[in-house]
Symmetry: C2
Subunit: 292 residues, 2 copies
């Protein structure tokens, strides 16, 4: 068993610690035009009102970090990503997770960012390792490493562990502390493969046991194509927290998911006297009363 590592990320004014000793850190997923036409259209028009709204709402619902993606086809991503980041930072102080596949956009974002950013993401492909990791090192960031490489996404937990090993080892060679590498075991769609959930859970266990690193996961795709997705996502995220997930990328505005994360922390003994659970309950009761 490897010791549990702590990852620190920060904004100019806030520090967030990700670890297996503390509460689960929610990385809000919503500032992303992929699959959200209204956001896509607004970004195309240079309108950042939805971005500001998404930022405020997610933080109010419990996000401690916000993922920021400006992947608009045909747009000048380096410029657009910085505009989106600025819009977010106008309304909230939480640290950001810079989500781009464009090395120029990543470098520009890191250069302008005040604090220690989280980079989403590197993977085991040579091209990715060679472009992303040097930037992570240069700007002293933390990074999410996806368990895929030049051969695609491995179909067994053991092979995904090997990709995690490769990413951690390559980061270490550049002087990046293993505590600054967060691994995403990749939760694929169970609609396509009934074992997809199990593979992600098992991969998480193997990686935590071997390296003690923090684990992230885009935990909403798992239920794609299934009915009542929110229940599946809520249950899966709780099971993944038990397996070792520490910083899910998810939508805290889905009440079932936010509640499951709080309940999972409580059941893991990470909520002393149930104070966070009880506080969230009171907040829900107040909101329900206000709506009535």
């Amino acid at each position: 068993m490897a010791a549990n590592l702590k990852t620190i990320v920060s904004s100019a004014t806030q520090t967030v610690e990700i670890s297996r000793d503390g509460p689960t850190v929610i990385i809000g997923e919503r500032i992303n035009p992929t699959g959200r036409k209204v956001v896509l259209q607004a970004l195309r028009e240079g309108n950042f009102d939805i971005v500001r709204q998404d930022a405020k709402e997610q933080v109010a619902a419990g996000a401690a970090i916000l993922d920021v993606n400006a992947g608009v086809p045909g747009a000048d991503e380096p410029a657009l990503l910085q505009q989106v980041m600025r819009a977010v930072m106008e309304v909230t102080d939480v640290p950001l997770c810079i989500d781009t596949a464009n090395p120029k956009a990543l470098e520009a974002a890191l250069k302008s960012y005040r604090g220690k950013a989280l980079v989403n993401s590197v993977n085991g492909e040579e091209r990715s390792l060679n472009t992303v990791l040097p930037l992570v090192e240069e700007y002293g960031a933390a990074v999410i490493g996806l368990c895929m490489d030049d051969n695609g996404i491995p179909d067994t937990p053991e092979k995904r562990l090997a990709v995690a090993d490769k990413i951690i080892e390559r980061a270490a060679r550049l002087g990046i502390d293993v505590a600054n590498v967060i691994i995403d075991p990749l939760a694929l769609t169970m609609g396509a493969d009934s074992k997809a959930g199990w593979i992600a859970l098992r991969t998480t266990e193997l990686i935590v046991r071997e390296f003690g690193v923090n684990i992230s996961m885009g935990a909403s795709n798992i239920s794609f194509g299934m009915p009542d997705r929110r229940y599946i996502n809520a249950t899966f995220i709780a099971m993944a927290i038990h397996a070792g997930l520490t910083c899910p990328i998810t939508n805290p505005l889905v009440p079932e998911v936010a509640i499951a994360i709080l309940a999972a922390d409580l059941c893991m003994g990470r909520d002393d006297y149930g104070m966070r659970w009880i506080q969230a309950y009171r907040q829900r009761a107040k909101e329900t009363a206000a709506q009535a």
Copy 2:
């Protein structure tokens, strides 16, 4: 890692297999006067209508086995337990889990039961081991072993593992196959100890790794004294299934719990093509439509 064991229980006409390869087996908890005044009063009056109703509803909601408890203070438990069992068997064919601390009631129940019963429970106390295990052996039953002994309930997973070890070893000495011993790690109230959930989860992992036995758990007490208990219970049961729980003793009439169990099986890769999930969704949709 011990190999996963299979436990078979049966009624006169139905067989249920409990294992880590198949879906979670729900043991319905409701036929129990403890803390249910209306049941207590009905049993005192020799009225078994509620028992029949509870039996039918729990099976319809997904219980594969029914726990039957007739612990009415001052009553003739051997006689009452058999009456309750008969009432249940009038309306359903599922196997029963005979839940009594009274050795005479247990023996009479086992003598009259047709099939292979599950006995709830033995524990690590000498008196319990010496009275319950011989009956389990004589009647070829399976048994739930609670992780407590003459010194009470141990406060660490390692010490609870030692109690499980003792129960399994003592059963083996009498010729009871380890596959017929199901261990309950004991989920205590988190309201009294923030670590109670974690201890139960960790104990489950240790026991599964060491012995491969099936795991049961009364998974509703965990949230006692907390608000919004159903959410905590649903989340905890999903995490416990990930840890190795195979046959929770719970109330399938709580929708959040029943849904979490189905979702957990789906996420563990135990629901091929999501057929059970989709079928349950359709059933819920039908019931909602019928109510509208």
